[in-house]
């Protein structure tokens, strides 16, 4: 089966929704890999001695790479159906407003950790999940709106 036909989902989704799937996949895979690595490290190394900077940078780079590839596949599958319209805008606006609320709540954790002057390791590893969680929830919310709800 050709790659293009595997991803030929024109009937099911708009190009914007496919881009959301690509973004969600990138965040899910790379964040999952990072948290898996971090969990493994925490089992035998004290938190303060873990160097998470390099793995975190690779995670971000990997996320950008997978997202870019995913968008490429999505655009290829879309072929000439690359329109976006007012419904995409309405769904995006609705999801963005909810994501802002979610991030405001979860970002309070690293803020409080910073105020408490805990180790940078914990602040970093509280902030990164806040971004990841908000991204995954945002993708899920958009897909849900595309499939079920009146987005007006």
């Amino acid at each position: 089966m050709a790659v293009s036909s595997m991803f030929d989902i024109r009937d099911a989704m708009t190009i914007t929704e496919r881009y959301q799937w690509a973004y969600g996949l990138a965040v899910f895979v790379t964040s999952g890999a990072y948290f898996g690595w971090l969990g493994g490290q925490l089992t035998h190394i004290p938190a303060g001695e873990i160097n998470c900077v390099t793995p975190l940078l690779w995670t971000l780079l990997g996320s950008v790479g997978i997202h870019t590839l995913g968008r490429g596949f999505a655009a290829h599958a879309a072929q000439d159906e690359s329109r976006t319209d007012e419904r995409d805008v309405h769904i995006s606006q609705r999801a963005d407003s909810l994501c802002f609320l979610i991030f405001s709540v979860v970002a309070a954790v690293p803020l409080l950790l910073g105020i408490a002057s805990v180790q940078p390791f914990w602040i970093t590893n509280a902030l990164f999940p806040a971004f990841s969680l908000t991204s995954v929830v945002g993708v899920g919310l958009r897909v849900w709106l595309y499939r079920t709800q009146d987005a007006a």
């Binding site: 009937d11 989704m13 708009t14 190009i15 929704e17 159906e81 329109r83 976006t84 319209d85 007012e86 419904r87 995409d88 595309y146 499939r147 079920t148 709800q149 009146d150 987005a151 007006a152």
Partner: protein, 76 residues
């Protein structure tokens, strides 16, 4: 999957059939929107903007209220 219907109903599916079996894709192309948006409007999952509603009515050469209806049960 359970859909939340809007209060606005429409006759787009019938009107497409009456206009030479116009496809959803053809209507979408004339309005410069996605076919998924036409599907969502026809299924009552999405209420288009007033501007798009006028554009749809113009495609079928009908007044707006012959294409879209606001349910009597919800009238004001």
């Amino acid at each position: 999957m359970k859909h939340k219907p809007t209060r606005v109903t429409n006759r787009i599916r019938v009107l497409r059939a009456e206009h030479g079996d116009m496809t959803q894709a053809e209507l979408a192309a004339r309005l410069d929107v996605t076919r998924q948006t036409i599907i969502a409007i026809e299924q009552g999952r999405y209420s288009p903007s007033l501007e798009m509603a006028f554009q749809i009515a113009r495609v079928f050469k009908l007044p707006l209220d012959e294409v879209f209806q606001y349910g009597a049960a919800h009238a004001g």
